[in-house]
Amino acid sequence: MPIQYYIYFSLALFSIGIIGVLTRRNAIIVFMCIELMLNAVNLLLVAFSKMHHGIATTNNAVSTAGVEGQLFVFFIMVVAAAEVSVGLAIIVMLYRNTHSVDINFLNRLKN
């Protein structure tokens, strides 16, 4: 499959995530859109790693080029899991203090 198709697909998912972050006010849905953007980037990293591997194996049949891209996806998943646990704890505290998950209430952090 040409690499351009994967790029277009990932860009579409990433743009949907951006539109979600910009238009929704529910903090949990904003958070889910961030997860969507992370997944679009993960898919693109895997596609590029397979592209790199395909080019490298034409010269050297036993090459393991491209492993780094897939390990990077693994580390992105690790960081996303840590981020979700802390972020949801913050949202629970926001709900406990304001009885709402509207992100506009976060401007109370100013004073």
């Binding site: 499959m1 040409p2 690499i3 198709y5 790029i7 277009y8 697909f9 860009l11 579409a12 998912l13 743009s15 949907i16 951006i18 539109i19 979600g20 910009l22 238009t23 929704r24 006010r25 949990i28 849905i29 889910m32 859109c33 997860e35 969507l36 997944n39 993960n42 898919l43 895997v46 596609a47 590029f48 790693s49 397979k50 592209m51 591997h53 395909g54 080019i55 194996t57 393991t64 491209g66 492993v67 897939q70 390990l71 998943m77 690790v78 996303a80 899991a81 840590a82 981020e83 979700v84 646990s85 802390v86 949801l88 704890a89 949202i91 629970v92 709900y95 709402s100 998950v101 509207d102």
Partner: protein, 167 residues
């Protein structure tokens, strides 16, 4: 058009439709369920690319753990009624227009990139995505970041408990 291409377009259409449904659902529980469908479609893409380890990890970590955490928080706060306040329609329009502008600029950039022409992602072959090769690389070249990520998990766990504690 062979089977791989049909599967690619089918999974892509499913993922984009579900991602749009995540945005337009009023009920947050429905958004979470549509997001799980997106993750399954992306796992299907990983299987098509023969990245089997990442496909399984994506299902276990994202669709299994993270989405259950989201559902747990939504049901804990009893948010499944649509309590979201109305936003101005021109704010929504501005968000959609700016996201569409981003998509348009990036697509036109990719269309005229000569470096990418003729390159293709290897599908169904190539064994770098198997757990044997990834494990060898992870525990030889990338062992320091792997250990650091365990410290990151510990600090995230402590941080979540400290933030969520009722004082």
């Amino acid at each position: 058009m062979d089977t791989l291409q049909i599967l690619f377009f089918l999974l892509s259409a499913l993922a984009i439709f579900s991602a749009i449904m995540v945005l337009v659902s009023k009920n947050p529980v429905h958004s979470v369920l549509w997001l799980i469908v997106v993750f399954f479609a992306i796992s299907g893409h990983y299987i098509l690319l023969n990245a089997q380890f990442l496909a399984i990890v994506n299902l276990i970590v994202y669709a299994g753990a993270i989405m259950v955490l989201f559902l747990f928080v939504i049901m804990l706060m009893n948010l499944n009624a649509d309590t979201e306040p109305r936003k101005n329609w021109w704010m929504k329009l501005a968000g959609v227009v700016s996201g569409g502008c981003f998509l348009m600029v990036m697509v036109s950039l990719v269309r005229q990139a000569t470096e990418l022409s003729g390159k293709a992602a290897l599908m169904k072959t190539g064994d770098i995505g198997l757990i044997k090769n990834l494990g060898k690389a992870l525990f030889s070249d990338f062992v320091v970041p792997f250990e650091i990520s365990s410290v990151l998990f510990l600090s995230a766990m402590v941080g979540a408990v400290v933030i969520g504690k009722k004082d």
